[in-house]
């Protein structure tokens, strides 16, 4: 039990990336067309963080994983029907707005407050996990802000790997430029880790795990605390999707090496 960890994973839900995502401006600001009726998934980067957290917890007996998520609870419930089957965790839902256009400071404040109030949370054993990026309009700062509010100053971003040592310290691999990783050694919890993709595959659905998780998830969803996010004066002048560029040529009879060379040359030119 020496390395029993308390891992809190912050994860939002986002529209299924296969859906048509069309920005629109409504009465309350920008959003996505039909966002509330589009199927949602757990934010893919945050999902990687969850799987890594569960893996770490499984290797360190006595550890516990919380999944803290801010979103409309009806949508959270739908997403949980898949996510809950993958790994064991305790859901801490906060019933609030969905979308990538909320103010990161307001979101961080609500999440930090929720995490600080978790019963039995030992701050000295806390690892705060989340996504380094987001499939929505990621502000890229929410996780850091939560860490700051919780007083956690050891923060790592673009994490692909964590190796926990017997003395409680751990080595972290963070993505840096050129496809390389920066290795850092941290003395131990508490720390913030913003995950890239990690190294683990998406766990398969297992209804037995799901049924066990659901014993706590459904009551938690029913009791989910409502939260409103302050706009803090945030205003968008315009929103649009990145332009898709397609330049198709039909090429036959080229060897893989020739194709690769041309691609490298093209990338270099860009």
């Amino acid at each position: 039990m020496a390395n029993a960890l308390q891992i809190v994973v912050c994860a939002g839900i986002v529209p299924d990336p296969l859906q048509t995502l069309e920005p629109i401006t409504g009465a309350s600001g920008p959003g996505l067309k039909n966002e509330m009726v589009l199927p949602a998934v757990l934010d893919p980067w945050a999902a990687s963080a969850l799987y890594e957290a569960a893996n770490l917890a499984a290797k360190n007996p006595g550890s516990k994983v919380w999944l803290v998520s801010l979103g409309p609870k009806a949508k959270l419930q739908q997403v949980m029907m898949t996510v809950a089957q993958k790994v064991s965790f305790e859901l801490v839902p906060v019933d609030g707005p969905i979308g990538g256009f909320t103010d990161a400071h307001a979101t961080a404040a609500v999440l930090a407050e929720t995490i600080a109030a978790l019963p039995g949370l030992d701050h000295t054993r806390l690892l705060l996990f989340g996504g380094w990026e987001s499939a929505t309009r990621g502000a890229g700062v929410t996780l850091q802000l939560i860490g700051e509010r919780l007083g956690i100053t050891d923060q790592f971003q673009g994490v692909d790997q964590i190796d926990l040592r017997d003395d409680g310290s751990f080595e972290v691999l963070e993505r840096v430029e050129g496809g390389k990783h920066q290795a850092s050694v941290c003395v131990g919890a508490p720390a913030v880790l913003g995950w890239a993709t990690g190294n683990l595959p998406e766990p398969r659905n297992n209804p037995q795990i799901g049924m066990a998780n659901m014993r706590t998830i459904m009551p938690a969803l029913q009791k989910a605390r409502p939260a409103t996010l302050a706009a803090n004066g945030l205003r968008y002048t315009s929103v649009s999707l990145p332009k898709q560029q397609r330049d198709t040529r039909v090429v036959k009879d080229k060897t893989p090496d020739e194709i690769a060379s041309e691609l490298v040359e093209w990338i270099g030119a860009k």
């Binding site: 209804p207 799901g210 659901m214 459904m218």
Partner: protein, 737 residues
């Protein structure tokens, strides 16, 4: 009576979401089932879709990849659906809806995969339904998938009922498989020698055990029974050669040979020894009746899934049809809407979609009905046992009073003083649900698969050049062919029609049918856009026709409605299916409208979704009405001999001279004269004088009314088509092609 088309429309924003379907199909409060759906969907649109795309359907052999699919079923808990939690499962209570949902998800991609998932349960069903407690615990636990850390291969089973009959295939009613006593020592359990050759046995390539139906070939064994055979038993357990199927190649099918020595304790349900004779507690007939009564519903839902799965790929194909062409520049209508500029393309897709909705509603209604019937059946058995009533005829006699009470309940006003009492009577509830299930099960199997196969052809035709190619998106061409097998296996269409002709005339069912007709009228008064009134008129016509046919005779004086006259009974069974499917579809939309508003997951965009689905109901109700009208008219008039230009026929005709005279005293009478004979005796050029409608005028009134009831249905179709042309679909199909 005409139905009113709703004015002022709201379009559906996206394809119906999971939250919408959970409410419609009544599992919004069952998170175990919601998880099962996600789990099965993951396997279907992952493992299974990749296999289909990679061409695994192109071989009849059981390949390592197909075996991997079974393991994926294990990991996703699909093979555990049938088991209780204490046996290794995760769903407690009746499993009909659960099995149906899993099969529906798998069949969304491939019918063979769905069949493979169900076949193991089919093998276990005899044990589950009629097996001893020991047999159930033993085989269910071993067939449950292993849990993490559990190093065990699950047992896989096959159900061996059918056998080869020389030259003609199979006959499920005849058993040539034999069982006789191999060894019986005093005071010890007898050993049996089982000899059976199976045909078209699903799961056989990898089965470790088989539940085989056999007849006694020994005076020391009475009747027939089902026996459990294991791969390790003494003798021959030959898996046989794979069947060269046109379709469903992701399920294993073969013709095995068994010659095995097994203990008598393997007789499903156990046995007693009476005067030196082994008497099985259940004959094979009693067992398969209990088994097939439930499993056929899931097959019907498999075809329904295909129809709904066709919608998204067809819309995408239609919209993108001209993109890339010289004349379709981005931003133009031709580029944006493609073939969906054309009304015909939209209307035909609306028909496919409406049929898919109706088939799915009917199937899930049947599955839920069996879930509620299962515990009631146990309660009924316990009550009758307490009263000292055994099975068979004694039970039927004992239930007769409950049937009378049930019929009375159906005709009773809710304010009647006996209403609450009758409604609370479990035996009344049982006979009502039993009668309904006896109709809904064959109706689902017959209509969903038979008419569903026809509509799959329509869906494929909408794909244009893609349609009959291997790379047709959504595997639609494969699904079209699969649907035909689904119409055939587990009891072909004629078997379902035959069953319906018996069960649909039960007094208890007909009492419910009358109540449903009134229910549709009530619904129509508040929800006119659903087509409920159209449906009620069609139901009224069907019932009138049934009553008429039961009394009427044909031109030769032969009785019209009897078991052997399938030209009469079978079309009536077909007509009923249309009505039942349409009714279930309407009820599902009403459920959505009622509960969806309170559900934050569906509230946004709900009016548009309800409007569209109601329009589909109206479209389908009109189709059902048309079909029922056609069938009933043919049956009511088709068995009367057409009058000829002979003496008898001409008696009802006017002569031209006679008519001229009458015209002087009754000006205008000529306009009403249908058949006039000329002075030279010549007659109008047609088959004979027009047939009268003696005894059928009431039918003509109903027919007239039904025709007028179609008012508004095409407006509903136009609205639905408009939605189909604007509804948002995902950027790409969520499974490989």
């Amino acid at each position: 009576m005409s139905t009113t088309a709703l004015s002022g429309t709201t379009n559906m924003l996206t394809l119906p979401t999971d939250a919408v379907r959970q409410i419609q199909w009544r599992f919004a409060d069952r998170f175990d089932l919601q998880m099962l759906v996600q789990s099965a969907r993951g396997v279907a649109r992952g493992t299974v879709a990749r296999m289909v795309a990679a061409g695994e359907r192109n071989t009849h052999e059981w390949t390592p990849a197909k075996n991997e699919m079974m393991e994926a079923f294990d990991r996703a808990g699909i093979t555990a659906i049938f088991m209780e939690p204490e046996e290794g499962g995760f769903i407690a209570g009746p499993k009909n809806l659960a099995l149906s949902l899993a099969a529906f998800e798998l069949a969304w991609v491939d019918g063979g995969a769905a069949t493979a998932s169900l076949a193991g349960f089919l093998a276990l069903s005899p044990i589950h339904e009629r097996g001893t407690a020991e047999q159930a615990q033993h085989y269910m636990s071993l067939a449950a998938p292993p849990q993490p850390g559990d190093d065990r291969k699950p047992l896989r089973g096959a159900f061996a009922l059918t056998e080869p009959i020389p030259y003609v295939g199979v006959d499920t009613g005849m058993l040539s498989g034999k069982v006789r006593v191999a060894e019986w020592k005093d005071g010890e359990e007898p050993w049996l020698q089982v000899d059976k050759r199976g045909r078209f046995i699903t799961n056989i390539a990898f089965a470790n055990f088989v539940t085989a139906a056999v007849n006694s070939d020994d005076p020391r064994i009475k009747g027939s029974c089902v026996v459990i055979l294991e791969e390790t038993d003494e003798g021959i357990f030959d898996h046989g050669t794979p069947t060269k199927k046109l379709v469903h190649q992701l399920s294993s099918t073969g013709d095995p040979i068994f010659n095995l020595k097994v203990p008598a304790s393997r007789i499903v349900g156990g046995y007693t020894v009476k005067d030196g004779v082994i008497v099985p507690n259940y004959s094979h007939g009693e067992i398969i009746e209990a088994v097939f009564r439930r499993t056929r519903v899931t097959v019907g839902l498999m075809t329904a899934a295909k129809l709904l799965s066709a919608v998204e790929p067809v819309i995408r194909y239609q919209r993108g049809r001209f993109r890339g062409a010289e004349g379709a520049k981005p931003g133009t209508v031709r580029y944006q809407q493609g073939i969906q500029q054309r009304e015909d393309a939209l209307h035909r897709l609306v028909d496919v979609w409406a049929c898919g909705e109706a088939a799915t509603s009917l199937g899930f209604a049947a599955a839920r009905l069996f879930d509620s019937l299962d515990p009631l059946e146990k309660q009924k058995t316990a009550i009758l046992k307490e009263r000292g009533v055994g099975g068979g005829r004694a039970e039927l006699k004992a239930l007769r009073e409950s049937e009378i009470r049930a019929i009375a309940l159906m005709a009773m006003s809710p304010s009647d003083k006996y209403h609450t009492e009758l409604e609370a009577d479990p035996l009344v509830d049982y006979v009502l649900k039993d009668a309904e299930a006896n109709v809904l099960c064959p109706a689902t199997k017959l209509w969903n698969t038979g008419h569903g196969a026809n509509m799959m052809r329509e869906a494929v035709s909408l794909m244009g050049g893609y349609g009959i190619t291997e790379d047709c998106p959504g595997f639609l061409a494969a699904k079209w062919m699969d649907a035909q097998l689904e119409a055939t296996y587990e009891g072909p269409e004629a078997v379902q029609r035959r069953q319906l002709t018996v069960t649909m005339t039960s007094d208890v069912f007909l009492a419910q049918f009358r109540a449903w007709t009134a229910e549709m009228r009530r619904i129509a008064s508040t929800k006119p856009g659903t087509g409920a009134c159209t449906l009620a008129s069609a139901m009224q016509m069907w019932l009138w026709t049934l009553n008429y046919l039961q009394m009427a005779t044909d031109a030769d004086g032969n009785k019209l409605y009897h078991g052997q006259r399938q030209g009469v009974t079978f079309p009536m069974a077909d007509a009923l299916c249309w009505l039942l499917a349409s009714r279930c579809q309407i009820l599902d939309v009403l459920e959505l409208e009622e509960r969806g508003a309170d559900d934050p997951g569906t509230a946004e965009g709900l009016p548009g979704t309800v409007q569209f689905l109601s329009d589909l109901c109206h479209v389908q109700a009109a189709q059902a009405a048309g079909e029922v009208g056609r069938i009933c008219a043919e049956l009511v008039f088709g068995y009367n001999r057409h009058p000829a230009w002979d003496d008898a026929g001409c008696k009802s005709c006017f002569s031209a001279h006679e008519l001229d005279e009458l015209e002087e005293t009754m000006p205008g009478i000529s306009a009403f004269a249908l058949d006039v004979l000329a002075e030279d005796g010549s007659h109008p050029l047609k088959a004979g004088p027009c047939a009268g409608c003696n005894g059928s005028s009431e039918f003509l009134l109903l027919q007239n009314k039904l025709s007028r009831c179609l008012s508004g249905s095409r407006l509903a179709k136009d609205r639905a088509a408009d939605t189909v042309s604007t509804v948002m679909i995902p950027e790409a199909l969520d499974y490989p092609q």
